[in-house]
C-alpha cells in the first residue's frame, strides 16, 4: 500500500498536468460526478460542514484504527474537491490523518484557483477531517 505521502504526491502530479484553470475545473467536475453516491438519509445537519457557500456533508466511519470518509455537496466543483480529500484520507489511520500537515492542498494550488469564499469552504473541510481524526486517536 502506498504511503499517505505517496498518494498525495500522485494527486499533485496529476493535477499539475493541467495548465489551464478551465481544465483543472473540468477535472474537478469529473471527479465530483464520479464520487461514490451518498445516501440521502446521511444528509443530516450534524454531517453538514459549516463555512461553505454550498452545502457539504461528511460522513465518517471507523473500522479499528482506520477512518473511512464519504462526502457529498450540492455544488459539483466543491464535490470534486471533497473527492480529492476523501480519496487521499479515506482508509488511513486516525493517527496518520491527525499528524498530516495537509500541505498537499497548498501544493495543488487550489487556493489560487478558487475564489476566497471557496477557500473558506476548503479550510472548513480540512478542519473537519482533521478534528474528526483527532477525536478518533
Amino acid at each position: 500500500m502506498k504511503t499517505l505521502q505517496e498518494v498525495q504526491n500522485d494527486i499533485v502530479e496529476e493535477f499539475s498536468m493541467y495548465d489551464e484553470w478551465l481544465d483543472k475545473y473540468e477535472y474537478l467536475i469529473d471527479l465530483g460526478k464520479n464520487l461514490e453516491p451518498f445516501p440521502d438519509e446521511l444528509k443530516t445537519d450534524d454531517r453538514l460542514i459549516k463555512g461553505c457557500q454550498s452545502r457539504v456533508w461528511l460522513d465518517t466511519r471507523a473500522e479499528g484504527e482506520n477512518l473511512f470518509f464519504r462526502a457529498d455537496s450540492d455544488a459539483i466543483i466543491t464535490k470534486g474537491i471533497i473527492s480529492l480529500l476523501v480519496g487521499v484520507y479515506s482508509g488511513r489511520t486516525a493517527r496518520e490523518i491527525a499528524d498530516d500537515d495537509f500541505s498537499f492542498v497548498e501544493r495543488l494550488g487550489l487556493r489560487e484557483n478558487l475564489s476566497p469564499t471557496r477557500s473558506n469552504g476548503l479550510a472548513s473541510m480540512i478542519a473537519t477531517i482533521r478534528e474528526t481524526a483527532k477525536k478518533h486517536c
Binding site: 484553470w21 478551465l22 475545473y25 473540468e26 467536475i29 457557500q53 454550498s54 452545502r55 450540492d74 455544488a75 459539483i76 466543483i77 466543491t78 478558487l114 475564489s115 471557496r118
Partner: protein, 409 residues
Amino acid sequence: MVEVEKIRKEFPELGETVYGKPLVYLDNAATSQRPLSVIRKWTELSTKYNANLHRAVHHIADIATTEYEQTRDAVRAYLNADSREEIIFTSGATAALNLVAYSFGEAFLNPGDDIIVSEAEHHSNIVPWQLLCDRKGARLKVLPVDDSGHLRLDLLPDLLTPRTKLLSVAHISNVLGLINPIKEIVNICHSNNCAVLADGAQGIVHERVDVQDLGCDFYVFSGHKVYAAPGTGVLYGRREWLEQMPPFLSGGEMIGTVRWSGTTFAPLPQKFEAGTQNMAGIPTLRAALQMADEMRNTRTEAALNEVKEFILNALLSNPKIHLFGNPVSSEEKIPLFSFSVEHCHHEDLALILDKMGIAVRSGQMCAEPLMDRFGVTGMVRASFAPYNTLEEAKYFIKSLDRAINMLEG
C-alpha cells in the same frame, strides 16, 4: 456606443483585468463602481478640507460644513422633497431602516399593532422590523409575491387592519428587479392610515425618484450603490413623522442643551445625526447623483434598454434557465437578472464565470425568505449598470452557455 465608452473612462475600476482578462463587472446591485468625480471629491475633502462639521469656526471646517450642507440641498432637490429638514444623512440604507424601525416604532407602535413587509425584502428590511415587533409585542405580517415575482396587491386590503401602522417595501427588489407600484401601494395604505416606507437601495439607481410624486412617508437608500462613497446613505422622511419621532442614536451634534437635569434635542435634521458624520463621503452623493442623471440623460437609456432586452430574451429563450422576477412588460424590469439553471449549482456557475473575468453574485442575496418561497438554496444574479456594454452582455451570455456545458458535459 461612443457615449458608453466615454462614460466607462470615468470609472477607473472598469479598466481593470482579472486573471488576465478584462473585468466584466455585473455585480452592480451589490455595489456600483465609482466615477472620478466622486473619487476626486472624496480625496479633496480628505486631503484639503478634513475637519469636523458644524463645530468650529476655522476656515477648513467651514468649507467641509458647507460641502456637507450643500449636499443636503442637492439631495433634497434630486428627490424633490419638500424641505431640507426632511433629508437625514446616514451610513447607508441599513442604518436608515434601523433608524425608522426604532424611532417610528418608539413613537407609534403599541402592543397588538402590526407592521407589513413583503416577501421579497432584503434582510435589512426584515430584521429591524422583526426586532421592533419582538420588543413591542407587535406582529410582523408578510405580503406575498406570486410565482412571477409580482407583489400580491390583491391581498393587501385584507392584510391592512386599523392596527397596521406601517408597510415597508422595496421600491425595486434586489433579487427580482421588478419596479413595485409604490404609488398604488401608498394609495391603498394611506386610505387605511398606514404609513409607507420605500426601500430605495435599488430604486434610486434605476428610477428618477420624486418622493412627493411617489407619496411615500419614508424613502431610504445607500450611496455606494448609486456611485457615491461607501458609508453614505439617505433617509427621506416626511416632516410630520420626523418631528414626532424620538432620536435614534444620541450624543454629540444632535442636542440642544445638555444639563444633568435633562437634555433637549437639536431640531431636524441634526436630531437624527448624532456623532461625527462621514464628512468626506457624504458630499460625494452630489457628484454621484449628477453622474446618475448624466448617464440617464445622455446615454443612453436607449443603450441600456438594448442590453436589458438582449439579456431578457436570451435568458427567457433558454429552457434550462429559470428567471425569477418575470416582467409582464420589460418597462417594469430593471437590468437585474436572478436565475437558476437546471442541474447547475449557482456557486459552480459563479465560480466558472469568475474565471472568465465576469463578476456576478451567487447565493441567497440577503433574501433567505424569498429563496425559501421559490424553493431554492440560492440563485445567480447579473446586475447591469449604464456603463455596461452590449458586448459585455453578449460575452456574459456566451460564457454562461459555456459554463452550463462544462457542468452538464
